[in-house]
């Protein structure tokens, strides 16, 4: 069963300068599951997510204590190349952020940099990724057009396809639907549930109902601490901790 836990954090602390944004987070993320991280603004859920593929490296004056094990190896070990980590652990952001390039170029951006040059392979990859992201039918005839012309929901699915094209093991999602309307949101939620058969997904959401709908596991964060982490069904029907229950039932603060 050891194998099933793709990512493990061990007593992770995270500091912005002297401010401790995360306190002693120890969490296991299981393969082929959707794990949701919820909690009020500033609870550290996004910070944790960005720490899992070293996106926090880009912010000055931060540092990490503890270990983040990805397939058993600490990604914060000195000999680990963060570029390599990010290739294995993809990320989708809050706002759809396609590059101002064609749909095709958006998807091949990562693979090309990683050395994939063969046009036929690239085309196959584009189709496969777009199909996985349930976008192929909508864009197959306009692959050469700018990604900026797509609707918000389509852009976000394109971003998912772009991440999938790197064939990552894990997909991190940082409030991927908070900028979308309900219909696009529903599509992305369906997609996430489809994707979990092939990927391990960790999603931050401030929409509790979304966590309820799509996740298998839910972790509730408050003030940088992991308050409760358990099966989503349990969290939403009979959480163990009162703080969790107060938060999800809206009796908080």
């Amino acid at each position: 069963m050891e194998d099933n836990r793709v990512i493990k954090t061990k007593d992770v602390n995270f500091f912005y300068g002297k401010f401790r944004a995360l306190t002693d987070i120890s969490m296991d993320f299981e393969k082929h599951r959707v794990t949701a991280l919820i909690g009020p603004s500033g609870c550290g859920k996004s910070t944790l997510l960005r720490l899992l593929n070293r996106m926090n490296d880009l912010i000055d004056g931060t540092h990490v204590e503890g270990e983040v094990l990805f397939e058993g190896k600490n990604i914060y070990a000195p000999d680990v190349d963060p570029v390599e980590v990010r290739r294995r652990i993809g990320m989708v952001f809050q706002k759809p952020n396609p590059f101002p390039k064609s749909i095709f170029d958006n998807i091949t951006y990562g693979p090309k940099l990683a050395g994939l040059g063969d046009r036929i392979e690239l085309e196959a990859l584009v189709e496969q990724s777009l199909r996985q992201a349930v976008l192929w039918d909508e864009v197959k005839d306009i692959l050469g057009q700018s990604a900026m012309m797509l609707s918000g929901g389509q852009q976000q699915r394109l971003c998912i396809a772009r991440a999938l094209a790197m064939k990552p093991d894990v997909l991190l999602m940082d409030e991927p639907t908070s900028a979308l309307d309900p219909i696009s949101t529903a599509k992305i939620e369906e997609l996430i549930q489809d994707l979990k058969k092939d990927y391990t997904i960790i999603i931050v959401t401030h929409n509790m109902q979304q966590a309820a709908r799509i996740s298998d596991m839910t972790g509730f964060f408050y003030l940088g601490k992991l308050i409760e982490y358990s099966a989503t069904e349990k969290i939403f029907t009979r959480p163990d901790i009162k703080q969790t229950e107060d938060y999800i039932t809206g009796r908080f603060g």
């Binding site: 109902q209 309820a212 069904e233 939403f236 029907t237």
Partner: protein
Amino acid sequence: MEGTRRTSTHYERELQDIKQNLLYSGALTEKAIENVTASLLDRSSDLARQVIEGDAEIDRLDTEIEEQCIRLLALRQPIARDLRFITTAIKINGHLERIGDMAVNIAERVLALNEVPQLKPYIDLPRMAEIARSMIRGSLDAFVREECELANRVRRMDSEIDTLNEQIFRELLTFMLEDARTIHRALLIMQVSKNLERIADHAKGIADMVVYMVTGINVRHQWPGEDHDDVCRTRREEG
């Protein structure tokens, strides 16, 4: 907008799962009634014991369906049609579980009856059982097909059962008054009849909920005669 409904979502599949489980539970209770009737007619204690044992599965389903429903309420927060479906499912589930219990009750009486000689040939009881069974089937069909009319027909069948039950009661009372030795057996048969009547009640309860699910109108405290004709017509234009 018509015709663009998406291929079944995970949510819809979960709703379907509940429906399937309910139908399975319904089939089990029907079978239980069938078996218990047969055990009565054939004086087969084995069959009766089978019914009693079989109830565990119905109870298991009861728990499972209820958990599924609460899970869906908690995680999917259904509204409108879906919410009516879930509340209906919870109620139907409760009714089916009770029907299973009644079947067990009957089976226990049958076991007792099998210990003693048969009082009289059973004519009305199998008819009652048959009606009760067809009420269950009808109400579940109505549930699956979301047919208000069919549910209404089931609701009206309840009075037939009531009549039969009363008839049996009076007949048995006569037996008892005439011959004190029949009292014990007559009481047992009375209980069988009473249980069948209650099964029919539950079937009507299921039909009531189907009417609610389809129309959104609560008819539980309203007798089928009252204005059932209108209930189904108030349903809105579909699409």
